[in-house]
Symmetry: D2
Subunit: 351 residues, 4 copies
């Protein structure tokens, strides 16, 4: 691993793109060689093209890259992180994959295709088994792997240790989501001063469907969804980063809060056992204070890559309930795609 | 109804007390004659004793009242609104009742006593039937009637039309509650800047228990709880006024969102049919926008006395789900107790 | 005044347009007959065209108006309130004036023209004297009168009683401005969560120049600026409505805080003496609490039309200092233009 | 410097105390051996006594210390960081100094005593020359050195390069201060939701007086204040950390924005030239973006120890104006006192 794998960031000027640039600076395995963005930005230096919104300085190396159009003819890196809008990602990610690139995408465009892994490395690394089928369908030597929705990742990661022990059947999930999840400019300030908004377009559907695939199984080159009923209520709240979720869940056999806590505390998975550079360890931080997790205090647990769980208790209706927090632009987006890339690299699927 | 009934406000300097003073100014039936508060305030003019936190001016008549101690020997009004802390209300409210006063209380102290009505006038006016038993137990000619927890009122009022038609069996309720619910000073600003707190002491218990009593029935001078499983997840969010609730509910027979909407829109109850001065009409405002209700825009519906419901839809887990907003210090506290007093007056239970 | 003057609102779907629609509903003298907006909205009902952002319901009469393009050929009302963007107002307002309409504008486009009044009715009603010159220059029988910048109005109104008694020479003004001043969508939420922004495009210039004209005098059909040095520092803060200003001012002769308070408390001007429907009385509310004014508590003073002043004290550098609050979309925009229209009507300048 | 100097933190459970514990963990020169707090906390482990409010984990070593009373008989460390309330610091700090300890204090109690340095290490290290006089007056072998008010430090540090070149005569300073400046619980959330408060007790006085001493000179064992007129307007805003200041300043000879920028960029002082561990380098970060500094993005510049300046421009009234941001609990409190201790150590004034 002496020379770093060259990577490109597509959609590099948006909030998730900025997080990718931030987190990939000084990455031990990857090096940003190219940044792609819309025609409006192409040709400018990244420093001039981006309205940098992170509290750490713009990394110097990325700052001087010239932004390119998101075109496989112009971007040459073999590994491509996509933070593109779905409308663009629909077509562009396929073009890159057909051109032989490994595309790790944060866009929703291809998440639900049966031969496209919707990957949480701690949960369903085995879903990479569908890539052969995907290559065949798509043509070309590349592939697309997708990162789930930013709320879904935290939810599924918190549930993963329980799903190892029991069959998860039903859940009611209510979210309190950060403004950064909507990108920039995103939500108008007037809508989040002294206010909450009980709506995020398409979010409840993602929360209800994506977990079925993430916890699904591979059969004949296809990922088959697990049977799982999810009911989501979503809200946007005046928080910059960090999605909070209140979860009530029913399993095939009872899970006590004590069991859940113990399984969560002991949870380790491939990213941890392989010591992937971005893998949080522990992946799940369990707190015992009843007034936690809190976004301002806990979102950076494990460098923003861990999920934080607290308030494990009996749910009189569904059996078990608890509170989850995860950083939506780190674990839920940029950091999540980087961890996927690290897993791919460790699996020998990247140059 | 030519002369107004003299009333006293106990705990008049707190946030709920201030709302009582605000809402009772110019009330057609009641007139504040006395304000009671802690020893520290007693003897001062109300203007000097109170740190007025409402965006309307301190009513002139109340401003010049001299604050009295919360002692039935010094406060003479036959009707007493209590916004006392539970620790004080425990004893003091009983003393007033034994001394012949009608006590309408916002404190939690006596809410769960079987012969004390926990009243939402639109729902369980019939629970006043236990007052005779209460008088007998307590001694004296007065009585205590209580106003439910500020989150519970909005929840139950929204459900009331459905409970008329179906047997409610189970619900999962997640709240996003305003800072004013904690009184003043209440929650520190540092805890609600870029943050939410998944904890409010005792609140989940109230949400899980009080609805059982509110929807209960009177038998032999006692209110018997209905069978009803409630699971609550509570949060404090950076909102000044207005509690938002995400509700998933299961009934004995299916309720479609269309049925629910129609029952809610048509809902009228005693306060509306008797045209009580503070009764909102409609009691339930149903919105069709998917991004509503919002605290800043909707909390003052019906003068803060209506609940606002939107997003009625199928819950894949429990059957029906929707979003509720109600003003926690108006409908959920001061206004709620005033509406109770109006019902009592209309029933001939007040002088 | 038996039949109301028909008026049109141009730019009716924006935040200031919405405030105009709100404040003109049930106005005793004016009646909204037409609403103009961009091509995208034209042809729709106002209800469908507007994303209503005010906490009071959309007025029913306005809701059913069909939005028209902002074209004097299609809008027939003799009085036109303009809440247009400056880019559109530049040309359109002149077209309406040339077509004989009275245009009362909130846009900055024509504010600094020497024959266009920049009107705060309590201060410079006499500037209407330039309208003859304006008609002559512009052609047509109509005219344009402008409302100052939202921060400038509060500042100048607070200073008006002092300017009657002394010559104002220099001031340093620092603002803490509400998000609504940027319109909708305006400032992104991410920029105002746990943050303030020390920048509002063009605002410092307006604060430094507009007061010179407002306190100026009419000579030969032109408004001549007064000599007055203003230094402004502007900030956007996480407040929905209400601009706060910290003012240090130097006069030709010393003004004690006591004198200033007394002059402010006694201040009455034409809008008050003529009892214009929207005129606040008092125009300046002086508070003695050192922790006031506060946007959430004080912005609705005088229905949002008064300015609130507190903390009058000696400035060791410039002589006098104090704090001012005014409601930026009521007094500072929609309400201000309505008060101007009322003054024009009272002066016989409107049909 | 092989063994670290043992230090104690007095007032360790408050917000500034927590920052001290955070910043002293892993400090190269100092090691926390003792934590002192009120009687209520004494005897508990620090972990149990503190309500930890920082987004990094409670340092393990400090967590297990047993909290002691703030009594020189029980606390033995030769160096004492005081984050005590002024009411306690008044007496206690003197007792520690008389007992031979070096007290570096964040309290206001002794700041204005003529023989107590009010130290910003980049500005007035020479003021340590009064310590001999202080020892003589106070008795004992120890001494007190104080850290200025949290707003004053940022203000003076930004001005320091200009004061080297010109005589500063007058300034108008308006602050937008973070909630953490009031400690915990501090400001109630209700006061900072959709609101700003134009008041912080005693703050304007500190801003008007402390700079006179900081820029003063030592004569005959006393620090003599410089002639300097400061006028302050203070505000509390909904920001967690980071005080923003808008400054207009007059010097004996004109300073152009370009000169100011160049002097600020080149500014280095003793902490930088001696490479003190907590010294930011540069001490002043000058940004050229007109919408900066912003608390959320810039407060952690230089690890929270640098001040950030932007918007240098001509002030029409006083000559020069600009915007300053500094982290109020790092540079403005805990970090500032640590930098003072580092200077003392480098000067041989600590064991």
């Amino acid at each position: 691993m002496q020379t770093k794998t060259p990577v490109a960031v597509l959609g590099g000027t948006g909030l998730v793109g900025q997080r990718l640039v931030q987190l990939l600076a000084n990455h031990p395995w990857f090096e940003i060689r190219e940044i792609g963005a819309s025609e409006r930005s192409a040709g400018k230096s990244y420093r001039d093209a981006v309205a940098w919104k992170l509290p750490t300085p713009l990394p110097a190396a990325a700052a001087q890259l010239t932004v390119k159009p998101v075109d496989p003819g112009q971007i040459t890196a073999p590994v491509v992180f996509s933070a593109l809008d779905a409308a663009v990602a629909d077509v562009v990610e396929v073009l890159f994959a057909q051109d032989g690139r490994a595309v790790i995408s944060n866009a929703r465009s291809h998440r639900m295709a049966a031969d496209v892994p919707l990957l949480v490395p701690e949960i369903n690394a085995s879903h990479l088994g569908v890539l052969a089928a995907q290559r065949q369908r798509q043509g070309g030597n590349g592939f697309i792997v997708t990162n789930p929705n930013c709320s879904v990742i935290g939810l599924c990661l918190a549930l993963a240790p329980l799903v190892r022990e029991r069959r998860l059947q039903r859940m009611v999930v209510t979210t309190l989501q950060a403004a950064s999840g909507a990108g920039y400019p995103g939500v108008p300030a007037l809508d989040l001063i002294d206010n909450v908004i009980p709506f995020i377009g398409g979010e409840e559907e993602k929360l209800e469907i994506e977990p079925q695939k993430i916890f699904g199984t591979v059969r004949d080159g296809r990922i088959e969804a697990v049977e799982l009923l999810v009911s989501a209520h979503v809200h946007r709240v005046p928080v910059s980063d960090g999605h909070t979720l209140a979860v009530s869940a029913a399993f095939d056999r009872a899970v006590t809060p004590e069991q859940a806590e113990s399984w969560m505390r002991e949870f380790r998975a491939e990213p941890q056992s392989r010591s992937l550079p971005s893998a949080p360890d522990p992946a799940i931080v369990v707190l015992n204070e009843p007034d936690r997790p809190q976004p301002r205090l806990d979102r950076m647990a494990g460098g923003g890559m861990a999920v934080v769980v607290s308030k494990l208790r009996v749910c009189p209706v569904l059996g078990l309930k608890f509170e989850v927090l995860s950083h939506n632009t780190v674990r839920g987006a940029a950091g999540g795609t980087i961890l996927i890339a690290e897993l791919l690299k460790a699996e020998g699927l990247l140059p």
